[in-house]
Amino acid sequence: MFARIEVAMRPDFSDPAAEAFLRKTELAHPELFAKIRWARMMEVYWLDIPVAREEAIRAIHSVFWDRVLQWLFTGNLIPSAAGKNGGIQDLFEAAPVRPGEFWALERRYRSGVTDNVGRTVIEALEIVLKQPLPEARASSGNLLLIEGAGLNEDLLAVLARDLYCNELIQTWSLVPASELKKSDRFHQERIKRDLPKVSFRGGSEVEEYDLTSLSDDELQALSKKKLWALSLEEMRAVRDHFKKRLDEGKGKPTDVELEVIAQTWSEHCKHKIFAAKVNYSERAKNTLIPRHIDGLFKSTISATTSEMAKPWLLSVFSDNAGIVAFDEEDAFCIKVETHNSPSALDPYGGALTGIVGVNRDILGCGLGARPIFNTDVFCVAPLDYSEALPERLFHPRRILDGVRLGVEHGGNKSGIPTVNGALVFDRRYLGKPLVYCGTGGFLPRVIAGRPCESKEVIPGDRVCMVGGRIGKDGIHGATFSSLALDESSPMSAVQLGDPITQKRMADFLLEARDAGFYRAITDNGAGGLSSSVGELATLSGGRGGARIDVARARTKYPGLKPYELVVSESQERMTVVVPPEKLAAFTELASRRGVEVSDIGEFTSTGLFEIEYEGRSVARLDLEFLHKGAPRLVLDAFWDGRPAVAGASMPTGRRSFLEEGSSALLALLSRPNIASKEWLIRQYDHEVQGTSVVKPLHTAFPGTPMAFSGPNDAAVLKPKPTSEAGIVVSCGINPKLSDIDPFLMAQASVDEAVRNALCVGAEFGGPDSVLALVDNFCWPDPVGDPAKTAWLVRACYGLRDACLALSVPLVSGKDSMKNDFKGKLNGNPVSISVPPTLLMTAVGRITDVRAARTADFKNTGDAIYLLGGSRLGLVGSEFQLLCAENGSVLPGTGKTSEPDWEEARRIYQWLGGTNGREQQRIRSLHDVSEGGVLCAVAEGLIARGLGAVIRVPDGMDLWEFAFGEGFHSFVLSTADADCGALEAEWIANSIPFAKIGAVMSQERLDVSFEGNTATWSLPIRQLRTAWQRGGYWE
């Protein structure tokens, strides 16, 4: 039978979902908000359950209805389930105005879109009815009831489109009040119509292409039409390859073959730009960068790591993630991904699949690791953006809202703590938001008798697809992300993740791993089976090979074509290499864990990737050609030199620090790039798994009305109950420096990530100190643009310079090279490119977590030092942006901060415990980054409510001391009695330092200067208010 079930919170209880909708309305459309007097959010379910009516009613009772909380409207199915009238009008009576003007907006998923709640509904019905219901169908949605004066269909359509519904994945309809009071929508035929069966016409056909006769123009047109994202040179290489095959009488290329090649050769999978030959030149002649670069990845990234001998590196760059030894028994691994393009189209789904996708990288790293933390960095346009939006772009609030929720669901529901991250604002991220999702994993160094980093495939091993089923979702994701976003970007590129299906799969796979049931594993991400099987096939025997029958893969619905089965990026799937003798045990465990396995074929040694559909050959690809046949890109790069001093060519001049210093500090603390992210951080579980030692925030007086939090620099986790050693996770990102020089930007990002790790207590500088970096490039498309290519070259060489100087290896990374938007604004063409953005993520070890440090000042009377600090500059700082926005002059000496790696090593080796022995006397340590020394001091005061007196050292420019940013600097505090011991060690180690003040009990910040003749002062309360105000969103 069919049923429509509407669930409403009883009017006695507040309705947080409706209130959240109203808060968003107030921000986005205050004029509409003013008209709304009342709103309630209801859940709606459409069911088709093939059981008798009485049974169905019994099941609906127990699955859908909480009598304390809810009313249930089911037409006439369960008449007692509502208020006195037994219908939706009972709810209307709770509205403040009667008789009111009621409207309802119904929303539901488009058919075929992942509906996790619908899936759970079927499982719940199966549990209650104690029988499998393979034919049952369920769909979930909402009904938003609104009462207000002066609303009309047009205004409600604005609400629906802007705040209620993403029309890419959902549909909505307006239901007038007169309709609501009738019960037509509960009629069997109507529900049947509302719950369409998903199926697609067609199925097994395979198209063949004759490329031999195509002209260059036709080749390019075909690549564009099919979303293959292949260049003319690549299309020619494909044409020539298949011409040879045709001449040998082995047939024309099929759509399956061409799709597999397009996926494998996509920028997303192949990193063609990082592999390209680059011809580099600069206006200045004395460049340190070579004229001809034989691949940036090889020359700057992998070469950097291979120049360092680090015995603790177990696997770098070759796997899904880098693997690093933790101790004799265990290892940890790290991967950071980006999911920018999908998040631009569907922020929630894009971010959700971003986080669960990178979790799978970890599950498929080596023999499989258990995810132990997530780290997320979002780059978006300012939330107060108020100008017209180009077509198809979402407002940054809506982007951040969806991304935040996607990562919340992806992380929290998977039971993985989100321990670190950043939020970066720049207007240019309007064109494409950047969504970095990273995950760390933990694994034993020996698993079922084999080293954890080994991946082995033996011809005859089975190819098993594990986890979710294949659907149309995510077809062409890899090739799509290799194109600029434009108005015609495909809907099928978006997918929704299912954290619970993935959690079940993850739990199962770790059990199977420890039992030794498989020999190798990798995830199905970009490119789907074409990538995962295509890559594993290269490991099989000498020449490699695999033969699969895609008709044996489980699907969400019938009608998928062979090529769709091969390239679909449907989520929650891993490809597992199972020895034939273990297959029975593997599938038996899977079925006990409620996980589906499709045995789709075997690995061979034929040198071919063979794909069949119901036994009929649909692709026979030469692995050598597939993986090595792509022609190499050649890029030209030209660097025009740094822009004139003061970057944005703003006026410089003198300003009174006495008159303007304190207001500048408050303004800086409120800037979204500096302001508190507590509103965001607390919506993520950062403590699940019980390993937390240093959290994203330090909190004074937790659980009391006095509880306030301030920021920490990095996270510390204690992954093993039996060991006091810990893992440190931090990041560094500074895209604003790209406007000066991406070389400097990359150096600064490395320095910041390392400094953040050192702040909390990471080891550094000794032969066994474990500290590693992950690089993530998000770039505007450099192809055909020598300036953008030069930015990339310079960032790569800046990265290499900093890593070599600090002797910190790179272990993993990813690049996203097409972060551009091309569209229309008010009918005129507009293009927006992101600033060159490099995220550096550092992971390291802390010898003993009980020695971990946080950023907050601890005790009255403690001395405050600036460590390092001799190279602070205002050019490229947050303060410069503030001056530019206010139209005021930039004070200071007009210098940019430049690194001195010799000095850095001396400071970091001392902080990292390699030199000296007095580090345990440090009471707090915080790096000097956005907003400079005074913001760092303020951040250390905000939580505990202590005060400080800061004296600007003589001879320093006041503004540069206060708000300059730069390399190698820290604010440190220690007990007054310990100053002598610390200073002696700093002098012995040639570490620059200056005693800049002391912690005091009065709750204010005093800043004195000019030989203590001038002072300004701010109450801590005011600093806290400023810091907590900026950048707030849901």
């Binding site: 009883r10 209880f13 507040s14 947080p16 979902a17 209130e19 959240a20 699955v63 859908f64 909480d66 009598r67 304390v68 909380l69 996790n116 709640v117 899936r119 759970t120 509904v121 499982e123 719940a124 549990i127 209650v128 919340e408 529901k413 039971g415 954290p499 619970i500 959690k503 079940r504 006990r592 864990r593 409620g594 607390r682 919506q683 993520y684 950062h686 403590e687 699940v688 798994q689 019980g690 390993t691 030692v693 959290k695 925030l697 330090h698 909190t699 004074a700 937790p702 659980g703 009391t704 009305p705 509880a707 939090s709 204690k718 109950p721 977590v849 009980r850 971990a852 946080t854 849901e1034």
Partner: protein, 254 residues
């Protein structure tokens, strides 16, 4: 086989705090076994087998079935329909039960604390990870005996305990007299009735609570521990609950 009292820790279907819950039980002295729900079902671990094999049952935190429909609802249905566990009966035979966060939500949906209590979305509408102060009320709950005010983390989106409106005062009075209103927040992070952070059943042996005691078994988990580095090696305040249960289990055996 060890002669320590055994504790069963449930996992599967999106439960995700099983490891740290087992660690806490082991630190307290239990032999803790993490078992998948599906294995318990296929091995037909009914109430009798549960009672004879395990002195304690822990239902850990997590997002069972993704919190779809309502937090803990489908997990509760699965335990009731597929295992048939009558937990009040398990408690009356001497068994101890702790439901933490999602486990507590499932206990509520199973009706362990009566028909007039439910749990729903925080008033803020948001998931919240923060540390709170909670204090036991009364002395009825075996898990909370001798425990003072504790700092513990809450990490949930659905922690607002509510009562049936039309029977609110009657239900509150009844639960209060039975000693069931056993744990209260000093503040109120989610808008719960009577600042309730946890409930126990009439026997005092089944405890459900939203805060996570298993997340504070070593002092370095505390958000302010670096201000008192001298205590870094100390146990956390949440451990006392598991130690109480261990003593209770030994007593029940004697």
């Amino acid at each position: 086989m060890s002669d320590k009292p055994r504790a069963l820790v449930l996992t599967g279907d999106g439960i995700n705090c099983e490891s740290e819950t087992a660690v806490a039980l082991r630190m307290a002295g239990f032999e803790a076994e993490i078992r998948h729900l599906n294995d318990l079902i296929s091995e037909k671990i009914d109430l009798d087998r549960l009672s004879s094999r395990y002195a304690a049952l822990a239902m850990p935190g997590g997002f069972s079935f993704g919190d779809d429909l309502a937090s803990g609802r489908v997990l509760a249905l699965k335990i009731q329909c597929s295992l048939g566990w009558d937990l009040p009966k398990y408690a009356s035979r001497g068994g101890l039960v702790i439901g933490i966060c999602n486990g507590f939500q499932a206990l509520i949906r199973m009706g362990v604390f009566g028909k007039d209590v439910s749990i729903t979305h925080n008033v803020s509408g948001k998931f919240l990870d923060t540390w709170v102060k909670v204090a036991p009320a009364g002395t009825h709950c075996a898990w909370l005996r001798g425990v003072g005010t504790m700092d513990l983390p809450v990490r949930h989106g659905e922690g607002r305990i509510v009562l049936a409106t039309e029977r609110r005062s009657e239900a509150l009075g009844k639960m209060d007299r039975a000693g069931m209103l056993c744990l209260k927040y000093e503040g109120n992070p989610n808008g719960s009735e009577e600042r309730l952070a946890g409930l126990c059943d009439a026997t005092g042996r089944i405890l459900g609570l939203m805060p996570h005691p298993e997340a504070f078994v070593r002092w370095t988990s505390h958000p302010e521990w670096t201000a008192q580095p001298g205590r870094a090696s100390a146990p956390g305040q949440g451990l006392a609950l598991f130690e109480n249960a261990y003593q209770e289990a030994l007593n029940a055996r004697a």
